[in-house]
Symmetry: C2
DNA sequence: CGCCTGGTTGAGAATCATCAACATCTGTGG
DNA sequence: CCACAGATGTTGATGATTCTCAACCAGGCG
């Protein structure tokens, strides 16, 4: 049992689940919504944000088809977004890590297109959309940043589309690992050692693969000495090769 | 040779390519950006929109990595969005029909993530983003509508993700046909008879399939009497079955 | 007319899914 | 603290779908 795996921090546990911290003090404010806001404007944003007790694993922030009222930011933990397809199967559409915004898919139809569920104990900031809209008309830099965040989600989705459309199973798994690695790095955590908060089933579902294939590919990577896998603990041993495989 | 195919109108040729028509007079104004704006506000929007001569087949509106300055609306014709992947292959990320907005992917990084190219002669409205942003702070309903449009693009991308992740080749092709059918209907054209403006290669690329597979599936649908294919002219003979196959 | 691009069809190969058995991990209650 | 049950993950054998390679056909344009 390698200690550098056992001791690796979780991406999701970057900061405490304390829900009373406000935006100004939040360690995530440089990568979250307040980015590009002046101190006084952060306070105005802070005033409309609602925080509540951390969610337990399995609890929902919102469900598919529920009326849309707010967008959300992850303070700690990890969530998965998913929807139920016409034939009753689950489709995982994304994972949300600390500092990331989610729920914006609901704006178009005023109801959520996906459900969002905590994969582990998670703290969430809720931002009532009406008030965010109002504030956006007053703070152009907030409007601009919000446009940016939505545009970024579009760009990421298109990245995933390319992945699903063109890549082999190995490339897909590599791409997910690299994605989580870079999000871990963005949180000032290790880019090579982290914990996967989601199940193999969720990974396979997200990547359009079966659990078995995901498992086999983890084994293959391990045999190739590119990866060290210990249940949910991951250590990327050859990050350049992994990035290459993921397609830069 | 069925005449109802030969006579079917093109989705892309809904309105003329005349580029002097302004928003108030545009036949698309009820489905395009001006939706939800008052007459006087439409004029303000109209003033910032730039129109130019129609693009010929193969010409670009913008290219990947070019600086982002504007978003665009399709007035007539059809475009494809695509990017070049790390290993030099093309990935088609979407098709744009009249009344649809595109180019919003560029907001996040201030440069376009994809190229947009005319698949046939197309007329485009260019909307300088800076001025759209300014106007949005003054017209809350425009801001809201623009949020909606971006959110809608996210929802559509996630639809495609599900398609690529879960569906068989037949289901994918059916889903694309149904998507084009409903866009055709939205333009007050036939939901069952239309022309495909894109090549089989583009279809395959978009759906994550090879040209050969797409071709075989068209043949299979034709043998099953669900479809009538005559080069690019399409007639959906059993639309309910096709919708079912596409996953509602 | 003939070239060239784009589309169709066929045969064989490869990747990934399916089915099945087994291993391990988690958490719950005794 | 242990034991057990259900969930989760791994591995192997087999098979289906889709890709690849290749030949051929049709249509558009010089």
């Amino acid at each position: 049992m390698s200690s550098n795996i056992a001791e690796s921090k979780q991406v999701g546990n970057f900061c405490t689940h304390d829900y009373r911290v406000n935006c100004s003090d939040c360690r995530l404010n440089s990568i979250c919504l307040p980015i590009a806001l002046e101190a006084q404007d952060i306070e105005r944003l802070d005033k409309i944000i609602q925080r509540s007790k951390p969610l337990h694993k399995g609890e929902h922030v919102h469900r598919e088809n529920e009326p849309f009222t707010s967008v959300y930011a992850v303070r700690s933990g990890c969530l998965k977004a998913y929807k139920i397809t016409g034939d009753g199967k689950e489709q995982v559409t994304g994972f949300h890590f600390p500092g990331e915004l989610f729920g914006v898919d609901g704006i178009a139809k005023n109801s959520h297109m996906v459900s969002a569920k905590a994969l582990e104990t998670s703290a969430i900031c809720e931002i009532p959309f009406k008030r965010l809209e109002e504030l956006s008309t007053k703070l152009p830099s907030l409007q601009r940043h919000f446009f940016r965040l939505m545009s970024q989600e579009i760009a990421e989705d298109q990245q995933l589309i390319t992945l699903l459309s063109k890549s082999s199973a190995e490339q897909r798994v590599a791409a997910l690992l690299i994605s989580i690695s870079s999000r871990s790095a963005k949180l000032k955590l290790s880019a090579t050692a982290f914990r996967l908060p989601m199940s193999r089933t969720d990974i396979g579902n997200y990547l359009g693969l079966t659990v078995e294939t995901v498992s086999r590919i983890f084994s293959r990577f391990q045999k190739a000495e590119m990866l060290r896998v210990e249940n949910k603990e991951i250590c990327i041993l050859q990050i350049e090769e992994m990035q290459q495989l993921a397609g830069l």
